[in-house]
């Protein structure tokens, strides 16, 4: 029952993100747009490159979806509404998101095409840049909550959300989250202008529909993670808990979609350079500052 509600909520979120994405990119808000797009995509033929790695090619889009779903499973929508309340929930989010990279690597390598392969390639480089910026901010969050359980992380923010308590971690995690979802300016693996779709380029029809759905679910999941770790999840006055969770998640998703429009795509070398030379020292500083604050303020 909980799982069913969570998946429905996730799909509803993915749909709303699709509406938002359409609005952001086309300038027109269309409530039924994604529905039509999805149905039309299912109606199109789905052909595959002749020479390809069959298994990887077919597995990659579902794997992307599964990794996003698994990460979402440990994120609470409201106090009782969580699929798996793991003792290591916060760590599990990161473990599941690591398979996003595996999926993209497979999607890039399998079709035997240069664009796709470079796309898959690039995402691995991107992972090297962002993965520490997922783990380290989560560490600081777990320090404050004194737990890796996601529901306890939310409850630890009753007095003050982590976004204010540890703003450095918040910004780093948000940026790393955008990199996980390969949203602009971190859309190196798909890069429409440079790689003509990159890892997505060889997928058509229903396979493409699965890929796109997986990406939307991923965006919702990461936005939900930001909301749980930094914005106090379901906490908030007047409205019911689920409404707060939904509102915060969607707001974060909208922010993630909008931010990339005003800057050019980053260079691979810059993503790595800034991730390691700026991001990681800042993340360490964040852990240190949070540690001091916990000791001094409590």
């Amino acid at each position: 029952m909980t799982a069913a509600i969570s998946i429905l909520a996730l799909l509803a979120g993915a749909y709303l993100v699709a509406v938002l994405e359409g609005w952001v990119s086309m300038g027109r808000m269309s409530i039924t747009g994604p529905l039509a797009s999805g149905a039309a995509m299912l109606g199109r033929e789905s052909f595959v490159p002749k020479r390809r790695d069959r298994v990887f090619f077919e597995v990659a889009p579902p794997l992307l979806l599964v990794s996003a779903l698994l990460a979402a499973a440990v994120l609470p929508l409201s106090p009782g509404l969580i699929v798996a309340d793991l003792a290591t929930g916060a760590l599990f989010v990161n473990a599941a998101l690591a398979y996003v990279m595996v999926a993209l690597l497979m999607a890039g390598w399998a079709p035997n095409g240069a664009y796709a392969m470079v796309g898959g390639f690039r995402f691995l480089g991107q992972l090297v840049a962002y993965s520490m910026l997922i783990v380290m901010p989560i560490t600081a969050v777990a320090m404050r909550a004194e737990s890796l359980v996601t529901t306890e992380v939310v409850e630890s923010q009753a007095a003050l959300p982590n976004a204010i308590y540890q703003p450095i971690g918040f910004v780093l995690f948000l940026l790393a989250g955008m990199a996980v979802c390969f949203l602009p300016p971190f859309d190196l693996p798909t890069a429409p202008g440079e790689l003509a779709g990159g890892v997505e380029a060889e997928y058509t029809g229903w396979r493409l529909a699965v890929f796109r759905l997986a990406r939307l679910v991923l965006v919702v999941t990461v936005a939900a993670a930001v909301s749980v770790f930094y914005l106090g999840g379901w906490l908030g006055p007047v409205f019911p808990p689920w409404a707060w969770s939904a509102a915060k998640t969607l707001a974060v998703a909208a922010l993630m979609l909008l931010a990339g429009r005003h800057v050019p795509r980053l260079r691979e070398t810059h993503v790595l350079e800034w991730g390691w030379k700026v991001g990681i020292p800042l993340a360490l500083l964040n852990i240190f500052v949070v540690g001091v604050m916990i000791l001094v303020v409590g």
Partner: protein, 594 residues
């Protein structure tokens, strides 16, 4: 699962209902269009595809419609046919303002080159797409498409029907397995015969790859085979059987492959980026050999270039119009060039009003061309907002100030130009304050100091090379060449941004925009030459005029020079940087002389 597969198992009514549903969805769905030769050409011709309700697709695989814009040479139409075969069915093709689309498959319908017609076409295209869902059997293979697929070998077979067609699937499977088996017989790899087969197969692979992004394979296939087989002949043995080696060694395995600048040896892959690549000017056929994600080699040519002028002759009356029609990015400049050469040959000078009106028209074209470049550049670099703004401004500018009929800028036209100038300045200011853009472009696309360049490429690195500086008319309007000191993409962008603004000032100062007309006395004769600063640099023309005929033609265009720079800009650069470098040269493949 495709609809067809699902339906074959269900009763007729359900099938019909599902078809209805999908057909309705198709009619409502955003039209994703793959544009040939490219969205940049469409914009330069004054078409606003987004306003007509289309979304530009980066690859034909994600599109449902192919839009063929304007007159294109046959080779490009052949590429277009390949791209069309990569659009998943149901699909639709329309031609906008093209007289003869062959060998491109018969378009579903043709429309004239007008924004209004385009807007009507969108609705029509949706209806036809929906119709094709309802009557799938009516959609047959186009004759032209088949021809194109035949000539391109792998393409037809790349499109295998999905699970809906189990027989094909199995056949394909068998073939794949057979290929694999022969590969897995490791001992046989030692035999040279096997190697020959291997390298051929590899070349074939590279060729199929070429079709991947929907770009026709414009690389010389023979050269390719040679390249690949060379690799394999050398590396073959160590590469394949490491049974004797004890442990898999990367050094041994990559022995004999070309060595990159960092000393690591890796396998190289050739990938086409054009002539229909979305991030580069439509018609520019660029093939990059990738060493990892670094460009090891580049081969560039134009799929749409100008013909050889030497030895050509023709009617003088139609010459200016013909020359102007060759380059969709700067027709006005080429028309002006032809007329100036005529005037020089005849020894007459145009009156001041005509001069000023021409300047107005040429400066409008320059500003629009630079904005168009900026829009394409924004798309390439993933700067969505920039692509959108610059594209809109370009289209607005092309429409501003009226057409050639009215000589003086009407008050509304002048105020429109002033309004656009404010918007342009705002955009320029935004870009200047964008540190990420600066970091992205700085040091990218550096050209060697002794390289021959003209136009904004030359002015960006400090040379005040501008044909306008010698022009009396321009000097009277207070023209000043924009010069920056740097040979990279950033300074080229800055020069162009400043020039857009300056060009708009010049239009306002000239007070009129009039595309040069052909009202000229062609009875005169003599030899003449002229030089004009096109949006891309200095173009010069020599001709002799005799008895209403023109002969002794000699043309120099800036892009012919700049296309030579591509290699130095791309070499040993990361792929994205190489593409940014190439795009920053603002090459118009249409004016490249073969």
């Amino acid at each position: 699962m495709t609809e067809a597969a699902r339906n074959s198992r269900s009763p007729g009514r359900l099938r019909h209902r599902l078809r209805r549903l999908v057909s309705d969805a198709m009619e409502r769905d955003t039209l994703r269009a793959f544009v040939v030769p490219g969205p940049d050409v469409a914009r330069a011709l004054g078409l606003d595809l987004e306003a007509a309700g289309m979304e530009i697709s980066a690859t034909p695989r994600h599109a449902s419609m192919l839009v063929l814009v304007g007159e294109t040479p046959e080779s490009l139409r052949r590429s277009a046919a390949v791209a069309y075969s990569q659009i998943p069915r149901p699909r639709i093709a329309i031609s906008v303002g093209a007289k003869n689309p062959s060998p491109f498959p018969e378009p579903d319908f043709s429309i004239p080159l007008e924004q209004k017609a385009l807007e009507r076409a969108t609705a029509e295209a949706r209806k036809r797409l929906a119709g094709k869902v309802l009557n799938p059997h009516k959609e047959e293979k186009h004759a032209g498409e088949e021809r194109a697929e035949d000539s391109d070998g792998g393409h037809a077979s790349r499109e295998e029907p999905d699970e809906g067609d189990a027989i094909h699937e199995d056949l394909e499977d068998e073939k794949a397995r057979a290929g694999k088996d022969s590969d897995e017989g490791h001992t046989s790899h030692k035999e040279p015969k096997e190697h020959a087969g291997k390298s051929e197969e590899h070349a074939e692979k590279a060729e199929t790859e070429s079709s991947d992004g929907g770009r026709a394979n414009h690389k010389d296939p023979e050269k390719h085979v040679e390249h690949e087989s060379m690799n394999h002949a050398e590396m073959g043995h160590d590469h394949m059987d490491h049974g004797d080696m004890g442990f898999m060694s990367m050094v041994a395995m990559t022995e004999g492959t070309p060595r990159s600048s960092d000393g690591l040896q890796m396998e190289w892959v050739a990938a086409p980026f054009g002539p229909l690549f979305p991030g580069l000017p439509g018609g520019l056929a660029l093939t990059l050999t990738l060493d990892g994600d670094t460009v090891a080699e580049s081969v560039v040519s134009s799929a749409v270039g100008m013909p050889r002028f030497e030895g050509m002759s023709g009617s003088a009356e139609t010459f200016a119009g013909w020359l102007a029609s060759l380059d969709p990015f700067s027709p006005v400049a080429y028309r002006a060039l032809a007329l100036r050469a005529f005037e020089d040959a005849a020894g007459i000078a145009p009156d001041e009003r005509t001069t000023l009106a021409r300047i107005g028209a040429m400066e409008r074209e320059r500003a629009a061309s630079h904005l168009g470049w900026l829009a394409g550049f924004g798309y390439l670099t993933g700067h969505a907002r920039l692509a959108e703004r610059a594209g809109k401004l370009q289209l607005a500018l092309l429409r501003a100030g009226g057409s050639g009929e009215s000589d003086r800028l009407r008050a509304s036209g002048a105020s429109e130009i002033s309004r656009l100038k404010i918007e342009v300045d705002k955009l320029v200011e935004n870009l200047r304050r964008n540190p990420l853009l600066t970091r992205r472009l700085k040091g990218v696309g550096e050209i060697p100091g002794d390289a021959e360049a003209s136009g904004s490429v030359a002015r960006a690195r400090g040379a005040s090379a501008d044909a306008r500086a010698d022009d009396e008319g321009y000097r009277s309007l207070g023209f000043e060449a924009v010069v920056r000191g740097g040979g990279d993409a950033l300074s080229r962008m800055r020069v162009r941004l400043a020039e857009v603004s300056h060009s708009l000032d010049l239009i306002l100062a000239a007070g009129s925009i009039s595309v040069p007309s052909d009202s000229f006395d062609y009875g005169l004769s003599g030899k003449g030459s002229a030089t004009v600063e096109t949006p891309r640099g200095k173009a010069s023309l020599r001709l002799s005029l005799r008895g209403r005929g023109v002969s002794g033609l000699e043309l120099h265009t800036p892009s012919t020079r700049h296309i030579e720079l591509v290699e130095s800009v791309a070499k040993e650069r990361e792929l994205a940087d190489a593409l940014v470098g190439v795009a920053s040269l603002d090459i118009s493949p249409w004016e490249v002389l073969h």
